[in-house]
């Protein structure tokens, strides 16, 4: 790193340009703010949405329909969601998608009566149009520019960030009136579609300046994919039957509630699937609905409707799990002045409880929380007075060694994966297995603190962020002494009414937990 850093001053800095980040940038720019958006990859292709297609929780504003929509996941989420937040997300999403149809000229499909169907988007098309909208709004985009750390002033307020310019070379240093973190969840480089950039970088940076998290026990979403492939589209496996290698049906296996049967079986033998419940019409509709689903089959010479093919479960961590940075209100503000969180970086418990936000809820949440964070950050930035007050980098692990580095970043990532990807550790949870795993993760954190051997700071930060995220996950999973939502403890089966509350988690060297009330200002 010999080049002088690129110095930029702006009102609002948005970290990452997936759906949440682009909505945040758009709204902040609409509110009159100068906006800079930095993306670890390329805004428009980065993240889980761009690579796939997603439903959107777009519900007509009819009271009965809205009521049914809000009620649908309440039990699955263990009654940890909040009707006030859900109603606001439904309103914002409805308005936002309608605006996107006009302003983004998105080619939604039309129904028999000629009305656009706005309940879903194709990822590549959605995100290329969001990039266009953001650029048209005057936002400055720095691609291939991963965030490394946040900058704080003497009072602890966030006043900017530092990152690395992978292609251009050197670092950037952005002084900003407010920062929106939209860096996604953490999927631990499991190979799940589009999630390689989702390594928890922003979450670590937020914790380093004093933000805390919530719902990190709800972090064990796993998606079905063909064994050789990255293409996760669990919904289509609702048309599948599941088999053992000898061709006998795997009893109890299913794409939703029967997924744990698949996980348990995969521990000792292969599981095969065949989409044998799809008739000709459904087969055609699948191809139109999600073309990339078939790349994995067509190019491997598999007919998923007639051939049995081996499957796997890929961890989606907090991308389709729901935990993340806790918010103070629907302004998406955090514990730290000047810092906002949106999309999968923030907890989605407010609308999902302990159930997955996968698909439509996460998409609605990204749009809504991004929009709110962008507006609030623009408003806050106007109150920030001196942009040149002394600022200090808050980054620790992976950035500022406290000892002598021994392990390479890639080794740490492999070791973390060894503790968070296995089904019998994270998916099928048991205290007796989680404790030793957490101990190993604590050891890796100490290694990351001492220092990591890597030429690329961003790679070391990925390793540190994955380690930190894994520790918050298991710390919370061990603290929640029951089964609720996706968090299922074999040693603590069933709901415990005493645990009808949220669980905060935070801390770096010494992770802590505390129970938290369900009510958060909507």
């Amino acid at each position: 790193m010999t080049d002088a850093p690129l110095e930029i001053e702006t009102d609002v800095l948005v970290a990452e340009g997936g759906p949440a980040g682009t909505w945040a940038a758009l709204r902040a720019a609409d509110a009159g703010a100068d906006v800079v958006l930095v993306d670890k990859g390329w805004c428009g292709a980065s993240g889980a949405t761009a690579a796939a297609g997603t439903g959107v929780w777009y519900v007509e504003p009819d009271p009965d329909t809205r009521e049914a929509a809000m009620a649908s996941r309440e039990a699955l989420g263990g009654y940890l969601a909040d009707r006030g937040w859900m109603a606001r997300v439904l309103d914002e999403t409805y308005a936002g998608m309608n605006e996107f149809a006009e302003r983004g000229r998105y080619p939604f499909p039309v129904d028999d009566e000629g009305r656009q169907i706005r309940r879903g988007v194709q990822g590549p098309e959605y995100m290329r149009r969001m990039r266009m909208l953001v650029r048209r709004a005057g936002v400055r985009i720095l691609d291939h520019s991963p965030l490394l750390e946040l900058l704080t002033d003497a009072d602890g307020a966030v006043v900017g960030a530092v990152g690395q310019r992978r292609q251009a070379g050197g670092d950037y240093r952005v002084r900003a009136g407010a920062v929106v973190l939209a860096t996604g969840g953490c999927a631990f480089a499991s190979g799940a579609l589009g999630t390689h950039v989702d390594t928890g970088d922003g979450t670590l940076a937020a914790a380093e300046v004093g933000a805390h998290l919530s719902g990190m026990e709800f972090s064990n979403a796993y998606a079905i994919a063909p064994a050789h492939s990255s293409v996760t589209k669990t919904a289509y496996y609702s048309y599948a039957s599941f088999y053992r290698a000898d061709g006998t049906v795997l009893e109890g296996a299913g794409s939703t509630r029967g997924r744990s049967v698949i996980a348990r079986t995969l521990l000792s033998e292969p599981v095969l699937a065949r989409l044998d419940h799809a008739g000709p019409a459904e087969r055609e509709a699948m191809r139109r609905g999600q073309p990339n689903f078939f790349l994995a089959f067509d190019r491997a010479g598999i007919d998923p409707f007639t051939d049995r093919f081996p499957i796997t479960l890929l961890a989606e961590g907090t991308v389709r799990g729901t935990g993340g940075i806790a918010l103070a209100s629907t302004a998406c503000d955090t514990d730290v002045p000047g810092l906002y969180a949106a999309g999968d970086t923030a907890t989605r418990e407010y609308i999902c409880g302990g159930f997955t936000g996968g698909g439509s809820h996460n998409a609605a949440w990204a749009l809504s929380s991004g929009s709110w964070a962008g507006c609030a950050a623009a408003r806050y930035a106007r109150t920030a007075t001196d942009r040149h007050r002394v600022a200090t980098g808050a980054g620790g692990a992976g950035l500022r060694p406290t000892g002598t580095g021994r392990l390479a970043a890639r080794e740490v990532i492999r070791e973390v994966q060894g503790q968070v990807l296995p089904y019998d550790l994270n998916y099928l949870r048991h205290g007796d297995r989680l404790w030793p795993a957490l101990e190993k993760l604590h050891g890796l954190w100490r290694e990351a603190r001492d220092g990591l051997v890597d030429d690329d700071p961003w790679r070391a930060r990925e390793a540190a962020a994955m380690t930190a995220t894994a520790r918050w996950m298991y710390t919370a999973a061990l603290a929640r002494d029951e089964s609720r939502g996706m968090h299922k403890r074999e040693d603590r089966p069933g709901l415990d009414p005493a645990w009808h509350q949220r669980l905060d988690v935070g801390g770096l060297d010494e992770p802590w937990t505390r129970t938290a009330a369900l009510e958060v200002a909507a």
Partner: protein, 116 residues
């Protein structure tokens, strides 16, 4: 993972170098991008979608293939993803017709609306 950059088809626009979210390509000295960090490829197929001349091939495998693929073996596949999502001049955007089947539920659940 990304396996092929077709030197024959490539026009040297470097679009793939720009858009790859995991920065897999480097600009090549002869104008044709090179696969510099294949291990970082996340098999998202987006480089194929963005390549204006269908010069790229991403194998469906999450891991690198044991042997280098020959372009002649996959020639018919080049551009098939871009075509499927309806990107390219004169095509109908795939988004316009992307209405999937209804989500089937397990016994006891109510059927959902068609997936979009």
């Amino acid at each position: 993972m990304i396996e092929i950059v077709s030197a024959e088809r490539c026009i040297g626009c470097d679009r793939c170098v720009d858009i790859c979210p995991t920065d897999v390509f480097d600009r090549g000295s002869g104008g044709v991008p090179v696969i510099a960090r294949q291990a970082d490829c996340q098999t998202c197929f987006l480089c194929e979608a963005w390549c204006p001349v269908d010069a790229l091939f991403v194998a469906p495998e999450r891991d690198p293939l044991p042997e280098r693929l020959d372009e002649a073996d996959v020639g018919g596949t080049l551009g098939s993803y871009r075509e499927a999502i309806g990107w390219g001049h004169g095509r109908t955007p795939g988004a316009r017709i992307a209405v999937g089947p209804p989500l089937r539920h397990e016994p006891g659940d109510r059927p959902g609306p068609p997936l979009v």
